[in-house]
Subunit: 139 residues, 3 copies
Protein backbone atom coordinates (compact mmCIF):
# COMPACT_ATOMS: atom_id res chain seq x y z
CA UNK A 1 0.00 0.00 0.00
CA UNK A 2 1.44 3.33 -1.15
CA UNK A 3 -0.32 6.66 -0.79
CA UNK A 4 1.38 9.82 -1.98
CA UNK A 5 -0.30 13.19 -1.45
CA UNK A 6 0.65 16.84 -1.57
CA UNK A 7 -0.77 18.96 1.26
CA UNK A 8 -0.40 22.59 2.28
CA UNK A 9 -0.12 23.87 5.79
CA UNK A 10 -1.73 27.23 6.47
CA UNK A 11 0.65 30.21 6.78
CA UNK A 12 1.95 30.75 10.30
CA UNK A 13 3.95 33.51 11.94
CA UNK A 14 7.63 32.95 12.63
CA UNK A 15 7.97 30.44 15.45
CA UNK A 16 7.24 26.85 16.39
CA UNK A 17 3.70 25.51 15.84
CA UNK A 18 1.90 22.25 16.65
CA UNK A 19 0.46 20.76 13.42
CA UNK A 20 -0.21 17.13 14.37
CA UNK A 21 -3.96 17.42 13.99
CA UNK A 22 -3.75 19.21 10.64
CA UNK A 23 -1.60 16.41 9.24
CA UNK A 24 -3.67 13.54 10.61
CA UNK A 25 -6.87 15.07 9.23
CA UNK A 26 -5.32 15.28 5.76
CA UNK A 27 -4.74 11.54 5.75
CA UNK A 28 -7.88 9.52 6.55
CA UNK A 29 -6.19 6.40 5.10
CA UNK A 30 -4.07 6.20 8.26
CA UNK A 31 -6.80 4.14 9.85
CA UNK A 32 -6.36 1.38 7.24
CA UNK A 33 -2.68 0.75 8.09
CA UNK A 34 -1.86 -1.86 10.72
CA UNK A 35 1.94 -1.47 10.45
CA UNK A 36 3.68 1.12 8.34
CA UNK A 37 5.43 4.45 8.12
CA UNK A 38 4.51 8.01 7.24
CA UNK A 39 7.15 10.14 5.54
CA UNK A 40 6.64 13.92 5.86
CA UNK A 41 9.03 16.14 3.89
CA UNK A 42 8.73 19.89 3.61
CA UNK A 43 9.53 21.18 0.13
CA UNK A 44 11.20 24.32 1.52
CA UNK A 45 14.61 25.45 2.72
CA UNK A 46 13.62 28.03 5.34
CA UNK A 47 11.20 26.02 7.47
CA UNK A 48 11.56 22.63 9.14
CA UNK A 49 9.76 19.85 10.99
CA UNK A 50 10.56 18.30 14.33
CA UNK A 51 8.91 16.29 17.09
CA UNK A 52 8.76 17.78 20.54
CA UNK A 53 6.61 18.43 23.61
CA UNK A 54 2.93 18.81 22.72
CA UNK A 55 1.60 20.38 25.93
CA UNK A 56 3.16 23.69 27.03
CA UNK A 57 3.22 26.64 24.63
CA UNK A 58 6.20 27.97 26.59
CA UNK A 59 8.33 25.11 25.29
CA UNK A 60 7.67 26.25 21.74
CA UNK A 61 8.38 29.87 22.65
CA UNK A 62 11.68 28.86 24.29
CA UNK A 63 12.66 27.05 21.08
CA UNK A 64 12.22 30.30 19.16
CA UNK A 65 14.22 32.27 21.76
CA UNK A 66 17.12 29.80 21.79
CA UNK A 67 17.37 29.45 18.01
CA UNK A 68 17.33 33.22 17.58
CA UNK A 69 20.15 33.54 20.11
CA UNK A 70 22.38 30.90 18.52
CA UNK A 71 21.60 31.63 14.86
CA UNK A 72 21.13 35.40 15.10
CA UNK A 73 20.32 37.78 12.29
CA UNK A 74 23.21 39.88 13.61
CA UNK A 75 25.85 37.15 13.05
CA UNK A 76 28.80 38.88 11.41
CA UNK A 77 29.55 36.07 8.98
CA UNK A 78 26.47 36.28 6.76
CA UNK A 79 27.16 37.27 3.15
CA UNK A 80 23.86 36.05 1.65
CA UNK A 81 21.78 39.00 2.83
CA UNK A 82 19.83 40.27 -0.19
CA UNK A 83 16.70 38.25 0.69
CA UNK A 84 16.40 39.97 4.07
CA UNK A 85 18.02 39.54 7.50
CA UNK A 86 15.77 36.62 8.42
CA UNK A 87 16.71 34.58 5.33
CA UNK A 88 20.16 33.15 6.03
CA UNK A 89 19.38 32.31 9.70
CA UNK A 90 16.26 30.52 8.40
CA UNK A 91 18.36 28.34 6.08
CA UNK A 92 20.71 27.31 8.89
CA UNK A 93 17.88 26.63 11.37
CA UNK A 94 16.10 24.55 8.71
CA UNK A 95 19.11 22.26 8.32
CA UNK A 96 19.76 22.03 12.08
CA UNK A 97 16.22 20.76 12.65
CA UNK A 98 15.86 18.93 9.36
CA UNK A 99 13.43 19.02 6.45
CA UNK A 100 11.49 15.83 7.13
CA UNK A 101 10.15 13.34 9.63
CA UNK A 102 9.50 9.63 9.31
CA UNK A 103 6.86 8.43 11.78
CA UNK A 104 5.68 4.95 12.73
CA UNK A 105 2.07 3.95 12.08
CA UNK A 106 0.47 1.15 14.09
CA UNK A 107 -3.11 -0.04 14.40
CA UNK A 108 -4.52 2.73 12.26
CA UNK A 109 -2.83 5.72 13.86
CA UNK A 110 0.45 7.57 14.26
CA UNK A 111 2.43 5.77 16.97
CA UNK A 112 3.82 8.85 18.69
CA UNK A 113 4.85 9.05 22.32
CA UNK A 114 2.40 10.53 24.82
CA UNK A 115 4.15 13.88 24.82
CA UNK A 116 5.22 14.03 21.18
CA UNK A 117 3.69 16.45 18.72
CA UNK A 118 4.70 17.50 15.22
CA UNK A 119 6.13 21.03 15.11
CA UNK A 120 6.15 23.15 11.99
CA UNK A 121 9.17 25.37 12.57
CA UNK A 122 8.60 28.57 10.60
CA UNK A 123 11.89 30.41 10.39
CA UNK A 124 10.88 33.28 8.07
CA UNK A 125 8.99 36.40 9.11
CA UNK A 126 6.53 35.89 6.24
CA UNK A 127 6.98 32.30 5.10
CA UNK A 128 3.51 31.80 3.65
CA UNK A 129 1.84 28.43 3.18
CA UNK A 130 4.18 25.44 3.38
CA UNK A 131 3.89 22.36 1.17
CA UNK A 132 4.54 18.73 2.10
CA UNK A 133 4.59 15.54 0.02
CA UNK A 134 3.18 12.88 2.34
CA UNK A 135 4.02 9.26 1.65
CA UNK A 136 2.15 6.61 3.63
CA UNK A 137 3.19 3.00 3.11
CA UNK A 138 2.73 -0.26 4.94
CA UNK A 139 0.22 -3.04 5.23
CA UNK B 1 7.98 -8.15 5.12
CA UNK B 2 6.98 -5.81 7.96
CA UNK B 3 8.02 -6.26 11.56
CA UNK B 4 6.94 -3.75 14.16
CA UNK B 5 8.14 -4.08 17.75
CA UNK B 6 8.29 -1.96 20.87
CA UNK B 7 11.54 -2.20 22.83
CA UNK B 8 12.89 -0.50 25.94
CA UNK B 9 16.43 0.66 26.42
CA UNK B 10 17.76 0.39 29.97
CA UNK B 11 18.02 3.66 31.93
CA UNK B 12 21.30 5.49 31.43
CA UNK B 13 22.87 8.50 33.08
CA UNK B 14 22.85 11.82 31.26
CA UNK B 15 25.26 11.64 28.33
CA UNK B 16 25.88 9.83 25.04
CA UNK B 17 25.79 6.02 25.02
CA UNK B 18 26.50 3.31 22.44
CA UNK B 19 23.43 1.08 22.05
CA UNK B 20 24.06 -0.68 18.72
CA UNK B 21 24.36 -4.13 20.27
CA UNK B 22 21.26 -3.74 22.44
CA UNK B 23 19.19 -2.86 19.37
CA UNK B 24 20.56 -5.61 17.12
CA UNK B 25 19.93 -8.23 19.79
CA UNK B 26 16.31 -7.13 20.09
CA UNK B 27 15.76 -7.90 16.42
CA UNK B 28 16.85 -11.41 15.41
CA UNK B 29 14.77 -11.10 12.21
CA UNK B 30 17.46 -8.79 10.79
CA UNK B 31 19.26 -11.84 9.49
CA UNK B 32 16.31 -12.72 7.23
CA UNK B 33 16.41 -9.41 5.31
CA UNK B 34 18.54 -9.19 2.17
CA UNK B 35 17.65 -5.56 1.35
CA UNK B 36 15.60 -3.31 3.60
CA UNK B 37 15.47 -0.56 6.16
CA UNK B 38 15.18 -0.30 9.91
CA UNK B 39 13.31 2.67 11.34
CA UNK B 40 14.14 3.54 14.96
CA UNK B 41 12.06 6.28 16.61
CA UNK B 42 12.29 7.24 20.25
CA UNK B 43 8.90 8.01 21.80
CA UNK B 44 10.35 10.80 23.95
CA UNK B 45 11.05 14.52 23.70
CA UNK B 46 14.09 14.81 25.97
CA UNK B 47 16.37 12.13 24.51
CA UNK B 48 17.54 11.50 20.95
CA UNK B 49 19.32 9.11 18.63
CA UNK B 50 22.27 9.74 16.37
CA UNK B 51 25.02 7.86 14.55
CA UNK B 52 28.61 8.64 15.40
CA UNK B 53 32.04 7.24 16.17
CA UNK B 54 31.85 3.85 17.87
CA UNK B 55 35.40 3.55 19.23
CA UNK B 56 36.60 6.26 21.61
CA UNK B 57 34.58 7.04 24.75
CA UNK B 58 36.16 10.51 24.72
CA UNK B 59 34.17 11.37 21.57
CA UNK B 60 30.95 10.69 23.43
CA UNK B 61 32.15 12.70 26.43
CA UNK B 62 33.06 15.64 24.16
CA UNK B 63 29.54 15.53 22.70
CA UNK B 64 28.13 15.99 26.19
CA UNK B 65 30.55 18.85 26.93
CA UNK B 66 29.80 20.71 23.72
CA UNK B 67 26.01 20.36 23.94
CA UNK B 68 26.04 21.56 27.56
CA UNK B 69 28.07 24.62 26.52
CA UNK B 70 25.81 25.57 23.60
CA UNK B 71 22.45 24.66 25.17
CA UNK B 72 23.21 25.54 28.80
CA UNK B 73 20.89 25.26 31.74
CA UNK B 74 21.93 28.83 32.55
CA UNK B 75 20.59 30.28 29.26
CA UNK B 76 18.69 33.43 30.22
CA UNK B 77 15.86 32.86 27.75
CA UNK B 78 14.24 29.79 29.30
CA UNK B 79 10.71 30.33 30.61
CA UNK B 80 9.66 26.65 30.79
CA UNK B 81 11.53 25.86 34.00
CA UNK B 82 9.07 24.12 36.33
CA UNK B 83 10.22 20.62 35.30
CA UNK B 84 13.79 21.36 36.41
CA UNK B 85 16.80 23.13 34.93
CA UNK B 86 17.75 20.14 32.76
CA UNK B 87 14.32 19.94 31.09
CA UNK B 88 14.24 22.74 28.54
CA UNK B 89 17.86 22.18 27.38
CA UNK B 90 16.92 18.51 26.94
CA UNK B 91 14.04 19.42 24.62
CA UNK B 92 16.26 21.61 22.43
CA UNK B 93 19.08 19.05 22.28
CA UNK B 94 16.56 16.34 21.37
CA UNK B 95 15.39 18.31 18.33
CA UNK B 96 18.92 19.30 17.26
CA UNK B 97 19.93 15.65 17.12
CA UNK B 98 16.57 14.26 16.09
CA UNK B 99 14.15 11.68 17.44
CA UNK B 100 14.77 8.86 14.98
CA UNK B 101 17.17 7.07 12.67
CA UNK B 102 16.53 5.15 9.47
CA UNK B 103 19.26 2.59 8.79
CA UNK B 104 19.98 0.42 5.75
CA UNK B 105 19.86 -3.38 6.10
CA UNK B 106 21.78 -5.57 3.66
CA UNK B 107 22.56 -9.28 3.65
CA UNK B 108 21.04 -9.89 7.05
CA UNK B 109 22.65 -7.10 9.02
CA UNK B 110 22.70 -3.36 9.62
CA UNK B 111 24.80 -1.81 6.85
CA UNK B 112 26.59 0.76 8.99
CA UNK B 113 29.98 2.24 8.22
CA UNK B 114 33.03 0.76 9.97
CA UNK B 115 33.12 3.55 12.54
CA UNK B 116 29.39 4.15 12.93
CA UNK B 117 27.55 3.25 16.10
CA UNK B 118 24.06 4.12 17.35
CA UNK B 119 24.12 6.64 20.20
CA UNK B 120 21.31 7.00 22.70
CA UNK B 121 21.63 10.65 23.70
CA UNK B 122 20.17 10.96 27.19
CA UNK B 123 19.61 14.64 27.90
CA UNK B 124 17.87 14.39 31.29
CA UNK B 125 19.58 13.84 34.62
CA UNK B 126 17.15 11.01 35.41
CA UNK B 127 15.53 10.06 32.11
CA UNK B 128 14.64 6.48 33.03
CA UNK B 129 14.08 3.70 30.49
CA UNK B 130 13.51 4.87 26.92
CA UNK B 131 11.04 3.29 24.52
CA UNK B 132 11.40 2.76 20.76
CA UNK B 133 8.99 1.45 18.13
CA UNK B 134 11.18 -0.48 15.72
CA UNK B 135 9.95 -1.04 12.17
CA UNK B 136 11.90 -3.44 9.97
CA UNK B 137 10.79 -3.76 6.37
CA UNK B 138 12.26 -5.08 3.17
CA UNK B 139 12.65 -8.37 1.33
CA UNK C 1 10.61 -2.88 -5.89
CA UNK C 2 13.82 -2.67 -3.87
CA UNK C 3 17.12 -1.40 -5.24
CA UNK C 4 20.15 -1.23 -2.98
CA UNK C 5 23.39 0.21 -4.30
CA UNK C 6 26.67 1.47 -2.90
CA UNK C 7 27.99 4.65 -4.51
CA UNK C 8 30.99 6.89 -3.88
CA UNK C 9 31.00 10.65 -4.02
CA UNK C 10 34.20 12.23 -5.30
CA UNK C 11 36.45 13.83 -2.66
CA UNK C 12 35.60 17.45 -1.91
CA UNK C 13 37.31 20.15 0.11
CA UNK C 14 35.92 21.05 3.51
CA UNK C 15 32.62 22.87 3.05
CA UNK C 16 29.10 22.42 1.73
CA UNK C 17 28.63 21.04 -1.80
CA UNK C 18 25.66 20.45 -4.09
CA UNK C 19 25.55 16.77 -5.13
CA UNK C 20 21.98 16.33 -6.42
CA UNK C 21 23.04 15.63 -9.99
CA UNK C 22 25.74 13.14 -8.99
CA UNK C 23 23.21 11.13 -6.98
CA UNK C 24 20.44 11.18 -9.60
CA UNK C 25 22.86 10.04 -12.30
CA UNK C 26 23.91 7.07 -10.17
CA UNK C 27 20.33 5.85 -10.07
CA UNK C 28 18.74 5.52 -13.54
CA UNK C 29 16.01 3.29 -12.03
CA UNK C 30 14.42 6.42 -10.50
CA UNK C 31 12.48 6.87 -13.72
CA UNK C 32 10.67 3.55 -13.17
CA UNK C 33 9.18 4.56 -9.80
CA UNK C 34 5.75 6.22 -9.76
CA UNK C 35 5.55 6.53 -5.95
CA UNK C 36 8.34 5.69 -3.56
CA UNK C 37 11.21 6.82 -1.40
CA UNK C 38 14.96 7.12 -1.71
CA UNK C 39 17.04 6.57 1.42
CA UNK C 40 20.55 8.09 1.33
CA UNK C 41 22.82 7.30 4.29
CA UNK C 42 26.46 8.30 4.50
CA UNK C 43 28.63 5.59 6.05
CA UNK C 44 30.82 8.16 7.81
CA UNK C 45 30.90 10.07 11.10
CA UNK C 46 32.64 13.27 10.00
CA UNK C 47 30.49 14.29 7.03
CA UNK C 48 26.74 14.73 6.68
CA UNK C 49 23.87 15.27 4.26
CA UNK C 50 21.23 17.96 4.28
CA UNK C 51 18.74 19.65 1.96
CA UNK C 52 19.05 23.36 1.39
CA UNK C 53 19.05 26.17 -1.14
CA UNK C 54 20.33 25.04 -4.54
CA UNK C 55 20.99 28.41 -6.18
CA UNK C 56 23.43 30.76 -4.44
CA UNK C 57 26.95 29.54 -3.61
CA UNK C 58 27.05 32.19 -0.87
CA UNK C 59 24.42 30.25 1.10
CA UNK C 60 26.74 27.24 1.18
CA UNK C 61 29.70 29.43 2.17
CA UNK C 62 27.66 31.00 4.99
CA UNK C 63 26.83 27.51 6.28
CA UNK C 64 30.55 26.78 6.56
CA UNK C 65 31.19 30.10 8.32
CA UNK C 66 28.39 29.63 10.85
CA UNK C 67 29.23 26.03 11.70
CA UNK C 68 32.90 26.91 12.20
CA UNK C 69 31.89 29.71 14.57
CA UNK C 70 29.56 27.58 16.68
CA UNK C 71 31.55 24.33 16.64
CA UNK C 72 35.08 25.78 16.60
CA UNK C 73 38.33 23.88 16.59
CA UNK C 74 39.36 26.18 19.45
CA UNK C 75 36.54 25.04 21.78
CA UNK C 76 38.17 24.46 25.16
CA UNK C 77 36.20 21.32 25.97
CA UNK C 78 37.63 18.94 23.34
CA UNK C 79 39.58 16.01 24.76
CA UNK C 80 39.50 13.79 21.64
CA UNK C 81 42.24 15.64 19.77
CA UNK C 82 44.73 13.05 18.52
CA UNK C 83 43.10 12.80 15.08
CA UNK C 84 43.67 16.51 14.44
CA UNK C 85 41.91 19.75 15.38
CA UNK C 86 39.27 19.33 12.64
CA UNK C 87 38.20 15.87 13.84
CA UNK C 88 36.03 16.44 16.91
CA UNK C 89 34.23 19.48 15.43
CA UNK C 90 33.52 17.29 12.38
CA UNK C 91 31.86 14.63 14.55
CA UNK C 92 29.59 17.18 16.24
CA UNK C 93 28.66 18.92 12.98
CA UNK C 94 27.89 15.53 11.43
CA UNK C 95 25.35 14.74 14.14
CA UNK C 96 23.81 18.23 14.12
CA UNK C 97 23.06 17.91 10.41
CA UNK C 98 22.49 14.18 10.37
CA UNK C 99 23.92 11.20 8.50
CA UNK C 100 21.07 10.51 6.10
CA UNK C 101 18.18 11.83 4.05
CA UNK C 102 14.94 10.18 3.01
CA UNK C 103 13.49 11.76 -0.14
CA UNK C 104 10.15 11.32 -1.89
CA UNK C 105 10.06 9.94 -5.43
CA UNK C 106 7.07 10.66 -7.69
CA UNK C 107 6.49 10.12 -11.39
CA UNK C 108 10.02 8.91 -12.05
CA UNK C 109 11.99 11.62 -10.30
CA UNK C 110 13.00 13.02 -6.93
CA UNK C 111 10.11 15.16 -5.69
CA UNK C 112 12.18 17.98 -4.23
CA UNK C 113 11.03 21.56 -3.81
CA UNK C 114 12.04 24.10 -6.44
CA UNK C 115 14.85 25.46 -4.31
CA UNK C 116 15.97 22.25 -2.63
CA UNK C 117 19.28 20.61 -3.41
CA UNK C 118 21.21 17.83 -1.70
CA UNK C 119 24.28 19.09 0.15
CA UNK C 120 27.25 16.92 0.96
CA UNK C 121 28.61 18.58 4.10
CA UNK C 122 32.31 17.77 4.27
CA UNK C 123 33.53 18.59 7.74
CA UNK C 124 37.12 17.29 7.51
CA UNK C 125 40.02 19.12 5.86
CA UNK C 126 40.87 15.97 3.88
CA UNK C 127 37.83 13.72 4.08
CA UNK C 128 38.43 11.80 0.86
CA UNK C 129 35.73 10.01 -1.11
CA UNK C 130 32.48 9.45 0.78
CA UNK C 131 30.38 6.29 0.50
CA UNK C 132 26.59 5.99 0.52
CA UNK C 133 24.28 2.97 0.53
CA UNK C 134 21.31 4.05 -1.58
CA UNK C 135 18.00 2.27 -1.09
CA UNK C 136 15.22 2.99 -3.59
CA UNK C 137 11.85 1.39 -2.93
CA UNK C 138 8.32 1.92 -4.08
CA UNK C 139 6.07 0.92 -6.95
Amino acid sequence: MWISRVIRLDPRPRGFHLVTREIVEALPELRDVSAGLLHLPLLHTSASLTLNENASPDVRRDFETWFNAVVPESFGGWTHTFEGPDDMPAHVKASLLGPSLTLPVRDGQLALGTWQGIYLCEHRDHGGARTLTLTLFGE
